[in-house]
């Protein structure tokens, strides 16, 4: 992509939660750019700050959380500074989010058609009501909901969990927004339905140039879908680059460990590589690199904060001792 300006540019974003037990730096200096039509996979383990990054971008961080620093440039406009009024205009319209919990999108007391038609009309007043209904119907069909005509008249509670998620996805796709942030939308779904959703997402990006952030902990899903990948650990993006580059030649010790621990074709009967220990509590992070307690390459240098470096072309890495041997191969 050579577009001079990325659709979305997140710069040094910081979101902290001010809890009773202390300040949790859920997002701690996250930066990335996404161009038109690009799909970025945001991967990381539970609690690494993926969802909070998504919420911060669309301005939905609830107290005790607060975006305390950085910029979110959407077509050049800083969303962190934008007022609530402006955000409401953009949300669901130019910037949409699919939540981990579909009930965050759906209103339990309104019928699905009411909600979908409203969404269409909020975006484009010139559309007739029938046209809006037709579009909603098609959107439901696209995400694999059988007999969409009847389903339009149902209330959210009449759907199964997986179907609710699909309705939420259909609503997000309705207005063909410029940016979609999808937070683990397929985790609760069957592989077949997941395939259908991935197909729709991919089509949307290719046809309308929507930029997509796909949040997941499942590296395999990202492998099939994304162009680029950002790996988060304890509130930071520790490695970022082109999908194939990162998956084939990871350089950050965490990425290396993570990929090594995924069972695959030729691992049968062998012991899997395992990253020792567990994810640290955000309230008790050691000074310096957050991965140091689990890192096989740790030394004294790691007690300082690793800044972003580019040990390989087109790669952003936060580590003092990246695995350059492997990347060189």
């Amino acid at each position: 992509m050579n577009d001079s300006q990325p659709t979305l540019s997140v710069q040094n974003l910081e979101t902290h939660f001010f809890t009773k037990e202390g300040v949790a730096k859920a997002v701690n200096g996250v930066s990335f750019d996404i161009a038109k039509g690009e799909i970025m996979g945001l991967v990381g383990e539970s609690g690494s700050g993926k969802s909070v990054t998504g919420f911060s971008i669309i301005g939905l961080v609830d107290p005790p959380g607060e975006v305390v620093g950085g910029k979110v440039l959407f077509n050049g406009e800083d969303l962190v500074q934008a007022g609530e009024e402006r955000m409401r205009q953009l949300r669901g319209n130019r910037v949409a989010m699919i939540f981990q919990d579909p009930m965050m999108t759906l209103n339990p007391v309104l019928r699905v058609d009411t909600q979908m038609i409203e969404t269409v009309l909020a975006h484009d007043k010139s559309v007739s009501k029938d046209e809006a209904r037709q579009r909603s119907r098609d959107a439901l069909g696209q995400v694999g909901i059988p007999s969409p005509d009847e389903r339009l008249k149902a209330y959210p509670h009449q759907f199964s969990g997986g179907m609710r998620q699909r309705v939420a996805i259909a609503i997000a796709l309705l207005n063909k927004p410029d940016v979609i942030i999808a937070d683990e939308p397929t985790t609760a779904l069957d592989v077949t339905i997941q395939g259908q959703i991935l197909y729709e997402a991919q089509k949307l990006c290719r046809e309308t140039g929507t930029a997509l952030i796909w949040i997941t902990h499942d590296l395999a899903v990202v492998a099939g879908l994304a162009d680029r990948i950002s790996v988060m650990y304890a509130g930071r993006v520790v490695e970022q680059g082109k999908l194939d580059d990162v998956l084939d030649h990871p350089v950050h010790p965490y990425t290396v460990g993570l990929l090594g621990s995924v069972p695959g074709h030729n691992t049968r009967g062998q012991r899997l590589f395992q990253i020792p220990g567990m994810t640290p509590s955000l309230l008790k992070l050691p000074p310096g690199c957050a991965f140091q307690e689990r890192c096989p390459r740790v030394d004294g240098a790691c007690e300082a904060d690793p800044g972003i470096t580019h040990p390989v072309d087109g790669r952003n890495v936060r580590c003092f001792h990246p695995h350059l041997e492997e990347a060189a191969q």
Binding site: G162, T192, Q194, A220, A223, P263, H265, R271, F273, T279
Partner: protein, 330 residues
């Protein structure tokens, strides 16, 4: 040699009974009917001693239900389960108790599967004391040894479950099962709720226990990579029926049943990059109202007229391989 576990024509139906309003509506001529889910439909397979058999299928296809029946948590609607050659219902009380303890289950949810109001010591030590595997005096030591076996320090035995991480909690669940000295473990999505880096730790633990304690596993999962890594043989389910069983390598190399092929294609894998996704062809059936004949026919690219009417039987297509598809009839 008799198989360690043999399941024959095992069936489980869940009936959703009508409430009062429904009954009245029915009397008044409404088409409301009791809903019957055929969660497991005449499933048959065997597991040999020391084997790891993977049970794979989409969510809702009946994997957990099958696992629960084998673990003795759910009574089957029909069919037989034999353990070491003896059928469950023909066992004496003593044999039954022994079999019940010999087959243990590891659960999916590391939160819900541990009693939040018991200390770890009590969670792990309760059953072995009841069944006389240890005594009240020996309990602390017995629990400590079991905890160390699964990689937990014995100094944590006085803690409550909420004081552990997901991976550690899963280890407690494994320790609880191991404490009654089982021979057969049913692992129902036992690592699905864990983080990737923790999954590897638990998978390794399962493999170590297998060699150390000579365990046999039924490993239920929807994650093909995990199943491929750990299993010797696979059983594939679709909408309550077993459609194919085969040794892992053969199944991945040459799937026989069209559903197996579809599954292998659709499941995301780390080495499948830049996929051009395709829309699902045909309607996705509901387990409440499965299609007649072969359940897979609405989505099967090879479906014939016969498939819509006649249920294909699971039969041997090569040594050690079974499949339920009319295509195999030549």
């Amino acid at each position: 040699m008799t198989a360690m576990l043999e399941v024959k024509d095992l069936t489980k139906n869940f009936v959703k009974r009508l409430d009062m309003a429904g009954k009245i509506a029915q009397k008044l001529g409404s088409s409301i009917r009791e809903e019957v889910v055929h969660a497991v439909d005449t499933a048959s397979f065997t597991v040999d001693k020391g084997e790891v058999v993977g049970l794979v299928g989409e969510s809702g296809c009946g994997k957990s239900t099958l696992g629960r029946m084998i673990a003795g948590i759910l009574p089957p609607t029909a069919g037989q389960i034999s353990f070491k050659g003896v059928e469950f219902t023909s066992m004496t009380q003593e044999e039954g108790d022994a079999a019940a303890l010999a087959i243990q289950m590891i659960f999916q949810d590391p939160f819900a599967s541990l009693n939040p109001r018991m200390r770890v010591e009590e969670i792990i030590g309760e059953a072995p004391v009841i069944h006389g595997m240890t005594t009240m005096q020996e309990k602390a030591n017995y629990v400590g040894e079991t905890m160390e076996r699964v990689g937990l320090g014995r100094e944590y035995s006085r803690r409550y479950p909420h004081q552990f991480s997901g991976g550690q909690r899963q280890r407690i669940g494994i320790a609880r099962a191991l404490a009654v000295q089982p021979e057969f473990l049913v692992c129902d999505e036992a690592i699905a709720a864990l983080d990737v880096s923790i999954q590897a730790q638990v998978i390794n633990l399962f493999m170590d226990l297998r060699t150390d304690l000579d365990l046999t596993y039924l490993f239920i999962s929807h994650d093909l990579s995990v199943v491929e890594h750990i299993s010797d043989r696979l059983v594939i389910m679709y909408l309550g029926r077993i459609v194919e069983t085969a040794p892992t390598d053969e199944l991945f190399d040459k799937p026989n049943h069209p559903y197996t092929s579809a599954l292998l294609n659709e499941v995301p894998r780390l080495d499948h990059r830049g996929i051009d996704y395709e829309p699902v062809s045909g309607e996705i059936p509901s387990p409440l109202d499965p299609p007649p004949g072969c359940h897979f026919h609405p989505r099967c690219p090879h479906a014939m007229d016969r498939c819509k009417a006649e249920i294909p039987v699971l039969r041997e297509i090569a040594p050690g391989r079974l499949s339920a598809c009319h295509l195999n009839d030549g």
